[in-house]
C-alpha cells in the first residue's frame, strides 16, 4: 500500500504565521494504521480538552493545542524547554469516515481514531476450488 499518511503540509513551504505572540511548537506524533482505522498518538503536555481543537476538512487533519502561559517572568536556573502552543497538520490520503472520528486526551497525550470508510477497508476474497 502506498504510504497513506503523506508528508505534512508545511515542510519547507512557508507556513501561515500565527497572530499571537506565543511560541508555537510542533508536537511529536505516532501514527499507526490498522485494517479498519488510523490511530494517532500525540504528545501535548499542558493541553486541556477545552483548549484542544481538532479539525478534519478536505483530507487535512489539523491539531491545535493552546497552552496557558506559565512560569512567566521566572528566572530559570535551568531552562531546557519552552512553553507555547502546539500546532500540526497532516494530509490524510485515505477515505475517512468523518462521522466516526473519535479523540481522547489523557495526561497530555492525544489519541485520535480515524476510521476508514467501508469502501476502503480490505476485504478478504474467498477463492473457490475449481
Amino acid at each position: 500500500m502506498a504510504e497513506m499518511v503523506k508528508q505534512e503540509t508545511g515542510g519547507n513551504v512557508a507556513q501561515a504565521e500565527h497572530t499571537r505572540d506565543n511560541p508555537m511548537f510542533t508536537p511529536r506524533f505516532d501514527i499507526f494504521e490498522r485494517d479498519d482505522e488510523l490511530i494517532l498518538w500525540g504528545d501535548l503536555p499542558g493541553v486541556t480538552t477545552e483548549n484542544l481543537h481538532i479539525d478534519f476538512e478536505k483530507n487535512e487533519l489539523t491539531i491545535r493545542g493552546c497552552v496557558a502561559p506559565r512560569q512567566e517572568g521566572a528566572q530559570y536556573l535551568l531552562g531546557e524547554y519552552g512553553i507555547g502552543d502546539f500546532y500540526r497538520t497532516f494530509a490524510i490520503g485515505e477515505a475517512i469516515d468523518t462521522e466516526k472520528i473519535s479523540a481522547e486526551l489523557k495526561n497530555g497525550v492525544l489519541t485520535l481514531h480515524l476510521p476508514k470508510t467501508e469502501a476502503v477497508k480490505p476485504r478478504k476474497i474467498a477463492v473457490k476450488a475449481g
Binding site: R28, E33, L38, E80, Y81, G82
Partner: protein, 152 residues
Amino acid sequence: MLATRWSPWNDWTEMQSQMGRLQNQMNSLFGRYGTANGSSFAPRSYPALNVWENDEQLLVEAELPGMELSDMEIYVNGGNQLSLKGERKVPSSEEGTWHRRERGYGKFARVIELPHLVDPDKVQASFKHGVLTIKLPKQEASKPRKIQVKAE
C-alpha cells in the same frame, strides 16, 4: 609558489555556518525543541527540565506526557539532589503498520544537583495534563534574609 593560501579563519567560518545549518536541520527534525522564532532549547537528557526559584522554594517542572504519577519515582538525596525515574510504555500495537514513530518510549532516569538545601519531608509533586511540577521548600538556612540596617 603557492597558488592558493590556506586561511584558517575562512575554514572556521565555513565550518561554523555548516554547523549552524546542521543545527537548524536538527531543530526542524525535532521540532519540539525549535520554536517558531528560531531559538532552540538543546535537550541534554530526558526529561527536559525547567528549574526556577522563589524565596521559599525551588520549583522543578518536566513535561512527561502519557505518564502517571504512580509510574514515577522521585527522590531527594542528601538535601540537594533530586532524582527522577520512570518508564513510558509503548502503546499497544496489534496488527498494523507504523507510519510515524516520533514519540520516545522506555526507561528514563535523571539526577540533578539543586543549588540550595531543601527539606525532603516537605517536597510536593503534582502531575497535571502531562506536566510534572515538583515543589521543594528550601531549608531555613538557605532562605534569603533581609538585613535591617540601623541608622546611627
